[in-house]
Symmetry: C2
Subunit: 645 residues, 2 copies
């Protein structure tokens, strides 16, 4: 037995000789990113050996000679052969991008779901799950009443619950004989009535378990995946968890993922990444937090963009990216959890929110459901800020949608120090106009680790207003501050946090390349909105309400979003940030059959506008690749602010 | 590369150094029994090395030192290291009991199915499969008609075929995008209409494949499994195959199988044995013979006794053998082929003939369907001679059934030289009353290998009539013949074939123990019939027709069956042997929805009589354990014959 000590967490455990460091770290309960799961190929489980030596059990190209010289090893390729002290680097611990699972049930989230529920009730919709539980006491067989177990069950359900046709599938049949006897013929059935006296039994438990009935809602984002566990009786949120989408290692955006899916075993890997590496760990985290067992979870609604929906089901996706951009499906067929290997009750029906087209997916139809746009008399503009930016404009009579490829910048992707809006993320920034020193607001209690979407919007806006950057996004070389610096190629960067300030491993900064990326992302959104409105013969004056959805951060500074030219310069009181509307829509769909019908109506009714076919779209985009825009007259309030400076 | 030569088949192939002999034998296309599939545990793949040496790569307890000394090796534990000549013994080649697949489409079988078909037509039943195929030409997507592949398909099916609700499952969805494009949007769909405008698509093929539509019927016997491949349009038999049930290695009768199923991994092994080791090889043999591909087979009907049905589905079976003998199910739920791993189109619905009770299964309901009993005005006695002997008595107004545990003797089990009714089996025997020399009729063209059920009936009858045995089944010690001999314990045996006569490895004989086993089997049948009739207040005079079913042989000598006291001594013209009625019933069920409904009616209406609860059953059985019976007056024609001797 050897001792392995972990820094910076100051943990120590005893291990047997020959265990791999990856196993040891997992055993210690320390999270480490290991997307290739020990193959030695991804290089993510790098740790630094501070004292002692490890045995290098496997060669790997994922670590450089320089890193080895500095004392780094891959945890998965190293075996313990003596007492050692190792250091888990911040990158490996995966707080940056990775798969760290967040699972606090914030009162905020609870409140959002409650609001969603009230909304459903306000619209006169029924708020009742379609799954039922009933406790039954079967008669005990004897030689005069020796019908089969199944007939006994059916006879009882017919007599006491009134169903005439009772269905179930083989996995349940296999369990019935022992289960009913172990239960002394007193069991709880979980079943799904389908009208006309039909019901399908999907689970059977020993004794009276009618009080426990759970479901999960899942938003499958290209970058982030959010889940919540709900009590299906009360609709109350009892756990939530989110993390990065493990598919990220195969490409940051949908196009790269689709290309990867066409490679040998590509689809299997992508499907495994979303289901086994992302969703299942999130589910188990929630089950653990809420003390719920997998088999008690009998309802599941998920939503994702059209590509995510294809990859989630393992359906060939390549035609999504090829003209004329044809999805394989928009509405998924009937699917059981066991077909996908999702860790809920295996007989659970998987409901996937329907898509509209190749680039307007179920996350948008679910989001529109949650937004209430479909019941509005006024014109509502709905913008989902994600790796793809989708835009819906309409009211209760019509809905137009389009999609613009914004890239992962809003979620911290393709930004040097970008990260998802999770603990350690800088979510708000102000900059002192004389010292150029920033003031940061960080999610959670610790030191900053990186910057999330809402923080970048603030940062760019503040840099622009304080003259750190010009309207092209170029850094000012003439400022008297060490926070602005340039590399040998002349590429500038602004330092948000020096490593000495927070005792970090490296500075947190934003480069001109990052700024360019972000400007292109915001320009895609803005030009999408203008093009969509123009195609309808409308303009910004026709927007009565603007709803922003997406996982960009806990809060979005709307004023700053307008200042940088992402949102149109309209009356601020019309604009609201509604958070993860896709997850809310899943929740509603799970809790209300009326909402589910409405969701399908929305998917059927929504019209898709292909921006690339609209005249003038590219010009709009290019004009918008400026802060706030090449034509500042489109942003009168920004112009006014500039004039005051 | 070494040369391996096989005797007696005089085959030779080249193999690489280090290949196991088992692989080599399989590669040579030579059938060898290997139920443990190379684990070295079953000892069935014994072969004799005549020239050269092999390398013993694995120790095994399944071969004795003596055998090793004689030159035997286990093929699975031996690797080729030089040129060798080996001899495949008759036992290993598995012709005896085993898994040798028989696959000749006899004109006889064809005729039986034709008769079954005519029967259905005579009853005014519709003779049409419920599976449909349609060729469709989809429109090609463009940017103005860019709906999803699924919507395109559904739109077309709605418009051209008139269905309003079109279902399919995930495996098909996964294939659609590439398949329709590869097919240039011209595809054939296989679908199952369910009334009210609904249909479920279970397969899609490139181009017009409407002419090819196939189904399989499977009779799952405790000892033998029979399958046939049918053209679903014409109902014509296009291939057939049968073999032993690979579950035999886990026990000869249902009770032993059930006990085995409760052991660790027991159920998995039994389920694997019937599906992967028995049914799938039979299916592939037929596909090969008929040049049909697996995915073209879209209908499957199977029947087996209640235990076989449970083990086929992997459903816990232990309560079948425990009072009050409760089956888990009598009617199986909806099951897809992919759930069981059966090698037909994965989306094929599996229909399993419904059982009546723990000891009257789907093979009997299917058999009764095929027998026409359900439409008869006269009283019909239906006897299925299998490992379990089941008896049904009734007419179109009522049906009573019971089961008696006959054991595997009718199928050659528990008989020293017993074998299934397949090539090499002695199926008819006469004995010369002065020389005691038998005349044998052998199935197929070769030498005798063993004796099947119909042969044993003849043999026992002839031995009785010629005085070789007495009415207790004991051999006569005073005969002047070397064919009767006794071992050191005084157990006698009669030699049917000396090895020298046919150049066999060993004699073919029957022992007094075998005769006892067989007498108990026939007594079980006879006493079952009398007890059932008595329970109804009837006797043999009430039998208007007696139908014998089962795989006892190609033909059953009815006179001899009466002579030994298996069948009641009634007018011979009332008795007929109808062969494998279970398989015929499966065929009818597959080809006619009317027949399927009738089958379910039969299962619902049949009353089960538990013989062990009937007074006098044991006495009847004991009295019947004689040739023909302790009370010879019950067999007047036998008495008469004896008197003439």
């Amino acid at each position: 037995m050897y001792k392995v000590r972990f820094l910076p967490m100051e943990k120590e455990i005893d291990v047997l000789e020959g265990e791999t460091l990856l196993e040891v770290i997992r055993k210690a309960g320390i999270f480490i990113d290991s997307p290739c799961n020990g193959n030695g190929t991804c290089g993510k489980c790098k740790v630094k050996v501070l004292e002692g030596k490890v045995y290098n059990s496997k060669a790997s190209k994922a670590i450089t000679d320089e890193e080895i010289e500095e004392g780094y090893v891959l945890a998965c390729c190293s075996k313990v052969i003596q007492d050692i002290t190792i250091r888990i680097p911040q990158e490996s611990s995966s707080a940056m991008y990775g798969m760290k699972i967040e699972s606090l049930v914030g009162s905020k989230k609870r409140e959002i779901l409650k609001r969603a529920k009230d909304q459903v009730l306000n619209y006169g919709m029924e708020f009742v799950t379609y799954v039922r539980k009933d406790y039954i006491e079967l008669s005990i067989p004897n030689k005069h009443d020796n019908i089969s177990d199944v007939e006994r069950l059916k006879r009882h359900v017919r007599k006491t619950l009134g169903y005439t046709q009772i269905y179930f599938r083989l996995p349940l049949l296999r369990r019935i004989p022992q289960l009913i006897r172990e239960a002394d013929y007193k069991v709880t059935i979980t079943h799904i009535p389908r009208g006309m006296g039909k019901t399908t039994i999907i689970n059977m438990e020993i004794g009276d378990k009618t009080s426990r009935l759970f479901g999960v809602a899942i938003d499958i984002g290209t970058t982030s995946v959010s889940t919540c566990l709900v009590d299906l009786y009360s609709g109350e949120l009892i756990a939530e968890a989110s993390s990065g989408n493990a598919q990220m290692k195969y490409g940051a955006d949908v196009i790269n993922r689709i290309i990867y899916s066409t490679k040998i075993n590509g689809m299997e890997k992508l499907n495994h990444a979303i289901i086994n590496e992302t969703i299942n760990p999130l589910l188990y985290k929630m089950y653990q937090d809420a003390k719920v067992s997998r088999d008690e979870v009998v309802s599941l609604v998920a939503a994702g963009n059209t590509t995510m929906s294809h990859l989630f089901l393992g359906v060939y996706a390549n035609f999504l990216r090829m003209e004329p951009f044809i999805p394989a499906f928009v509405k998924a067929p009937f699917i059981k959890a066991s077909e996908l290997g999702i860790e809920v009750n295996p007989e659970t029906f998987i409901y996937l929110a329907p898509s509209v087209a190749s680039y307007v997916g179920g996350d948008i139809t679910a989001g529109v459901l949650a937004s209430g746009l479909w019941t509005s008399d006024e014109n509502v503009l709905f913008i989902d800020l994600g790796t793809n930016g989708e835009i819906v404009f309409g009211n209760k009579d019509y809905m137009m949608s389009c999609a613009c490829s914004a890239g992962p910048a809003f979620e911290g992707g393709e930004i040097s120090c970008g990260m998802r809006a999770t603990n350690g993320a800088i979510e708000k920034v102000t900059i002192d106009k004389t010292t150029y020193k920033p003031t940061l607001k960080i999610i959670g209690e610790g030191n900053p680790i990186g910057i999330c979407g809402s923080g970048i919007i603030d940062l760019i806006c503040e840099m622009m207003l304080t003259g750190v950057i010009n309207r092209k996004g170029r850094l000012n070389k003439d400022l008297n501050t060490d926070r602005v610096r340039f590399d040998e190629n002349g590429i500038g960067e602004y330092v948000l946090a020096f490593k000495e300030e927070y005792n970090l491993e490296k500075d947190i900064y934003i480069t001109e390349v990052d700024i360019d990326n972000f400007i292109r992302a915001k320009a895609a959104i803005y030009s999408g909105v203008t093009t969509l409105l123009t195609s309808l013969g409308m303009d910004f004056t026709n927007i009565d309400k603007l709803l922003i959805a997406g996982g960009i951060g806990n809060s979005l500074n709307i004023e700053n979003s307008i200042m940088i030219g992402m949102l149109p310069d309209i009356d601020r009181s019309k604009i609201a940030y509604i958070g993860n509307s896709s997850l809310m829509g899943c929740y509603l769909t799970m809790m209300s059959e009326d909402a589910r019908r409405k969701l399908e109506e929305i998917a059927n009714q929504m019209t898709y506008v292909e921006l690339s076919l609209e005249p003038g779209y590219m010009d709009e985009f290019v004009s918008a690749c400026f802060l706030p825009h090449t034509d500042i007259n489109k942003f009168p309030s920004v112009r006014e602010r500039f004039e005051k400076l």
